[in-house]
Each structure stands twice: as structure tokens, then as C-alpha cells.
Symmetry: D2
Amino acid sequence: MKFVTEIGYSSPKKTIVRGHDIQDLVKNNTFTEGIFLTWQGRLPNEKERKMLDAILVSCMEHGPNAPTILSSRIVASAGNSLNASVAAGVLSVGEHHGGAIEQCAKLFQEQINQTGKQIVKEFEEKKKRIPGYGHKIYTTDPRTVQLLEIAQKLGFFGKFVKLSLEIEKELETLKGKKLCLNVDGCIAALMSELGFSWQYGKGFFIISRTTGIIAHAVEETVKEKPFRRLDESEVEYIGKK
Amino acid sequence: MKFVTEIGYSSPKKTIVRGHDIQDLVKNNTFTEGIFLTWQGRLPNEKERKMLDAILVSCMEHGPNAPTILSSRIVASAGNSLNASVAAGVLSVGEHHGGAIEQCAKLFQEQINQTGKQIVKEFEEKKKRIPGYGHKIYTTDPRTVQLLEIAQKLGFFGKFVKLSLEIEKELETLKGKKLCLNVDGCIAALMSELGFSWQYGKGFFIISRTTGIIAHAVEETVKEKPFRRLDESEVEYIGKK
Amino acid sequence: MKFVTEIGYSSPKKTIVRGHDIQDLVKNNTFTEGIFLTWQGRLPNEKERKMLDAILVSCMEHGPNAPTILSSRIVASAGNSLNASVAAGVLSVGEHHGGAIEQCAKLFQEQINQTGKQIVKEFEEKKKRIPGYGHKIYTTDPRTVQLLEIAQKLGFFGKFVKLSLEIEKELETLKGKKLCLNVDGCIAALMSELGFSWQYGKGFFIISRTTGIIAHAVEETVKEKPFRRLDESEVEYIGKK
Amino acid sequence: MKFVTEIGYSSPKKTIVRGHDIQDLVKNNTFTEGIFLTWQGRLPNEKERKMLDAILVSCMEHGPNAPTILSSRIVASAGNSLNASVAAGVLSVGEHHGGAIEQCAKLFQEQINQTGKQIVKEFEEKKKRIPGYGHKIYTTDPRTVQLLEIAQKLGFFGKFVKLSLEIEKELETLKGKKLCLNVDGCIAALMSELGFSWQYGKGFFIISRTTGIIAHAVEETVKEKPFRRLDESEVEYIGKK
């Protein structure tokens, strides 16, 4: 097997990441700058760093209810190592949980030369939902509001954010009710402003949420007895008797 | 099932992490500060934040050779989603790859009241290797040297670092050759100085290396054809004919 | 959370799988019969059992070259438990490695009322490859030949197998060279004959290959030293210097 | 990288498993015989095959309550492929869920030359629990009773089974109440009778339970809406306000 890479390499003498000696990065850079560099090939300026920090903080922990935390705690409860528990948590990031970031960023980046009207019409004709819009509870997603405020202040209210809001407006016109740009769609627009390719979409959610996954897996291991089971009342068998 | 947690919770009204509203954290804090808070229950001061950033940057990417990257690229090459590929990478963090941080931090934290001499003697009697010491290539691990320099400047040259160096000295006296405090052992000492419990040991390596894992999984998916196989010359069958 | 299921349940008094007491199954049935029952809701007759056994044996082990075994051995080599190593192996079953069974079975089951000609034409117009056809090395896949021989003897040469061969013939007419029904496509046709829904497609490969994954993970753990790395000659860095 | 193996290899001409051409195995052998061969290096006789079938059927499916099924259904519910969902299920096989088979088989195989009395005494002195004994609900595990009945009929009531029952008796004498040989301990004794090395312990549970894991992951994907979350009433936050 042969691996060809633009990302980095390591030899006994030194480790290089995107052209930078890792020793220099350790001395001079934050973890967020390191993520930006590794994924995009250049270090961010101060505004880009702040925007990425806001995105990464926004998804890092939302309590044990979500699939990412649940699956991780269940695997930890069966007596597994931290890495196995974290892997189970990361596996829960799927099409329906964080996956909209990827699909929505793909849409924004591939169709940036179209208008919001054209995009909404195209999805309407295919009878498909546009990823990154709508929320079970919110008519306005407060996390979107906040991230966009920060984006405006830092100067990231560019063509991708504008397209994302145009689509939101067109959807409202078409449907007669608001289908808000949710936090997944907002991150999709902002990562595009920052220059990341859409294939990294789930990556922001994964590395951010790994924070909470690790904390919950450790808590389960240290504080709880083995192992998690559903109560009998939580299962209903409707098969052959 | 019932989950009791001290880490965080989310309701339609707000999301709380360790007593902080996540909206405030998004506005005011970096990702590294968010990790520190989620794992330890309080925000770091500036020096603690810098020390944690140095640790997290030091492991984030070391080229495709290591198990974490290899397994992730292989799973990506078979046509899997980013989360499945990252999970495979995280699974490669095992007892022999990053696991020494956990075991070494456990040792430092549980035996902080003993001298380096006592600890070395105890392991010698049990004929066991002390985790976090020795390196295939280095007699002095340059990453340790650098992290300790930063630790000294920031004021984290406390009892755990001192114990870690005492053990290194005692090992040299006993063995007649240097068995250096390696980067795993050094991180174990520094995370202890920062107040993290040893169960988080693998966590620093996992979240840091997820940076490189994601970059390599994306590169494999975008740039390479399916799928990775060993060449015939890389396999030798020595079983029954 | 509430789980509603037709598959099975367990109480302190007894465990029921698809209407059967597991104690009866243990006494009277083989593992292959158990798999058939759990996935399809009824026990197989002797011919169905034999056909399923042939499918399951055909994929169980093909040496260390393939992604399933490679990723598992790499994770094992880093010092992980058997379940973590097996999980990494299972993760390697992706769209390009075993995934064609699912896609091809979906095609056969959803378009069983069309002719091979119509299906080939449809894919040709969409400029898409039909999953389950073609092989890097073989012009005739010997595994397909063998499974079809067994199918004929046992009486499973029904409408799905006929459609699969019709497509093969049409492809040859269209392309002017043979694009053989490969082992994935053949299993897709046979599982359809046996009455399994296409969503189980990857399942046959997963449970079958788990045999080899477990053997290789144990071998790696018992016989090899930690841990697997690429040699320097296997990596080429083409990024920024 | 170079992989040396006794298990099998594949070339364009043929695939060999433990010295057998896989084409012959497909024609002549059951899946259970294939598992026996791959893990142990020889084909089983009819009695050994029946004993292994009984073991594999006994663990294949126990309803959605257990960690293996729960974690798999949660990952499936987030919109993941079958292989990712199965991997999460396999990850749930841990020290506290199936892991006792491995530890108990290790004990039986390494201490087969000791008496039950010596072993019980040794664990008592170390204040450790013997893996494979005791059950939350049962004073006699009905699955053990049944597997031992089959073992007796087939002629596998050998030295490992005898040691396992001797330990059960000694434990009762010592504790004054029965701590039954549970199904994990029973499988540990029987796999030892069949000649499998203890490192395969978790393997029997993993491959067997993969049956139920696959069925539940498919059911979740086909029948349920995305995605599984805990209800608010299932979470209690006891951290900082």
C-alpha cells in the first residue's frame, strides 16, 4: 500500500503539518488554529479563528438526550475503554444528526451561482426538502441568530450567508410559513464563508461534539454501575406469539 | 432508562454546560476553553488555556503512518461516511497507541505521595514497565522537551511534573541508560497539573488526533479510488497447504 | 424511549424469537436456521437452509488483504479488545466493499416486473453502472458459477436469478464485452429468491465475514507485537514544504 | 506493512481457508462448520458441530433491552448505514456484557490443573469475583441447564465442565448460598471442551448476537422515524445551575 498525502508527515527528525513544523505550531498556535490549518492548508487570521471557535463551541455539548451521547454512554456502561465509547458516539452522527451540515454545504457550494428562487423551485419540483432548513420546535433558531450576529460583526456576511437567507425567504413565500435556517444550515453557510470544502461538513460537528461525548463516557464509567438496559415497560413486542 | 448528569442539559429554552449558558460560551470563549470547562467543570485561566492548547496541538496530526490514520483511511476507502471513518480512527487509540497517557496519569495521581524511588522500586519488583517512559528512537523526546519548556514558562512545573522527572532519573540510575519521559508521560503529568482526572487521559489524544483523522478521511474519499488492499507481496500465508 | 419490535423479547421467564422459545431453537436448530428465522420471521426448509449456508460460507474469509481484515488487525495491533477490533472490521464493509449486495438486491426487488433490457437501458441513459456486475480480474466470476450451480440443484433458479442473468446478457450485447454477474450480484439475486428484503443485503456479508475478522484480530493480538505502522517508503508527502 | 497469517489467503486463482479451498467448503459445509474451521484450524465432527450450533443459537437474539441492540438501533435511527449500526452494536460487547466468557475461559484453560477448591480459595484471598458465576435473577440459569444437557448427550462433559461445576459447588459451600454457573461461564467451559483458545471467548457472543443486531438495525431503519432521543423526564441534571 502506498499513501500519497498533502496533509502531513512525520519522521524521526520532525513532524510537518501543511508545511509547518509542529514544534512551531505547539509554541505559537491554538487548537482551533491547528484545526483550521490541518483542514484547509493555511492558518486563519484572527477573525477567521474567532468564527471557527464560535462554531466549535456551539455544538460541543447538549446533554445526554441526543444519539451521540446516548450510544457512547451505553457502550461505556458495558465496560469498554474510552476510545470504544467515543467511537460509538461518533457513529451516531448520521444523515439525521449533524448530516445536514454536509448536504447543505454541498448545495451552497455547488449552486452558489444560482438564486435562492431557482434553488427553492428546483427542490419543489423534485418534491425534496432542502437540508438545513426547518426545526421541530423553533420558528427562529436562536443558535442561528447568534452565529449570524457574530458573523456580521467579524465580516463573514458574504455570498454564502446571503444565499442561505435568500432561500429562507423564498421558502417562506412559497410555503406561507417560516421554515427557518437552522443551526446545521447556518454552520454550512459559515464554513463555506471560511473556505472549507463541503466534505468537511460533518467534521465540525464530530470534533466539537467529541467534547461532550468524552465527558459523558467518563461520567458513565466513573459514576454508574454496569450496565444500561431498557426497562420492560420500554419494550413492546408485537411479533408472533 | 434514567440518566443523571453533572455535565449539561438542553431544553427548548436553553442549553446549559456546567452551569454556563452555551450562548454565552459561544460569544465569549474558545473551543479549548469549552473543552476545559466540559471536562473539568470550570473555565481555565489564560495560562491553563495556553497549556491545554499546547497539548492539543502537539498530537493533532503526524502523517498517515500511525494506526489512527491508517484505519480511518481504509474504512473511508471502502466507501463509508465521514463519521464511520472517524470512528474507525478513534478505535485505533488503544493501550499501545495513546493509552499510556491514561495509565501514566493514573499512576501519578494515585501515587503522588510516594517518591520516584519508591515507584521505580515497586515496578521493578513486579517486573513491569512504567507507562509513559522510553521511546524506540529518542533518548530524549523532543516533544517532551518543548512541552516542559512551555509548562515552566506558564508556571505548571508542579508536583506531578517533578515526580515524572524524578522517576526518569531513578530509572536511569537503575537501568544504567536513559529511559526518557516520552510525550505520553509528559501529557499525563501536565493534565494532572491542570487538574484533570486520569480517566480523561486518552481523551486528550482522541480529540486532538480527530483533527488529522478527519483530514485524512476526507482526502482519501475525495482523491483516491476505491479501495485499499494489501498487495500480494505484503501477505505471507504460513498455514496448512 | 419506547421500542416496538416484531423480532423478539426477553423476560426472566423466557426469551422469544419470532414466536419461538429460544430454548427450543437451541435444542433443535442450527445457527444458519436461527439467522434465517431472526431475519425473515420463519424457519427455512432444508433446501433454503442449504442455500443460505452456501452464501454464508462463501464470504467468511479471504485473507488479510481486504479492508475488513486490515482495519480490524490494525485496531487490534494498537492494543484493543476483540469487540473494538471487530467493530473496525465491520466498519470497512462500505459502498465499495460488500455494499453492492444491498444496492443490487434493491434493484432486483423493486424492478422485478421489468425486463433486463429495460433495466440496462435505464441505467445506460442515466450513465450509471449497475451494481453487482463486472469484476477487475474475472470475466466469469467462479464464485457466481458455483453458487448458481447449487441454486439450480436446490431449486432456486427463480425470477430473480433469471432477471440477473438477463441483465448480464443485455450488458454484453450493449457493451460488446462481458460484464459478469459478480459474487455480490449473485448473492443479491439468491437472497431475493430466499425471500429476504434488500435492506438485509450487507447483513449477509457482515455476519459471514465476521468469522474471518475475529480470527485475524485474535491472531494479531496473540502473535504480533504492537503496533502496525506504514514504513516510511509507503508514504509520499506532496504538500507544502 | 507485512502480514503473516495461518488463517487464509486469496489469489485470483483460489481462496484457501486453513488449507481448504473455499469452493469445496461452499459445496460441502455449513456456516457453523466454517466458523469452527476458521477459528480452530480443523473441521468439526458431527457432535462438535451440534455443540457449537447450540452455543451460537443461544445468544443470537434477546430483545431490544440489551446494550448490543440499543446502541445499534440508536445509531441506525440517526440515519446510518447497516455496517455502521452493526459496529455500534458490536462495540457494546464489553467487560460487563459478554466479556465474562473470555475471562472465565482464560481461568479454566490456565488453571485446569488446579482443583475448584484451590481456585475459589485463590479468588477469595484476592477478594475478587470469579467471572462466569452468579446472576441477578436466577439461582439456576436455565440456559446453563439446557446447554449442559446437550453437552452431556453429545459427550462434552469433560474436564472443563467438571471444573466449572466443582467451582460452583465450592462457591456455594463458602458463601452459604448458590452462585450459579451462568450462561457466560457455561459457554466458557464448553468452548474449552471444543478446543478453542480463550482469546476467542467474546467471539462466540459477537458473531451470534450479530444476528439480532442486524435484524434490529434493519427494523429501526425501515419502520421508525429519525431519531431516538431520551424524553426530558429521563434526564436529571445535578450539576451547577
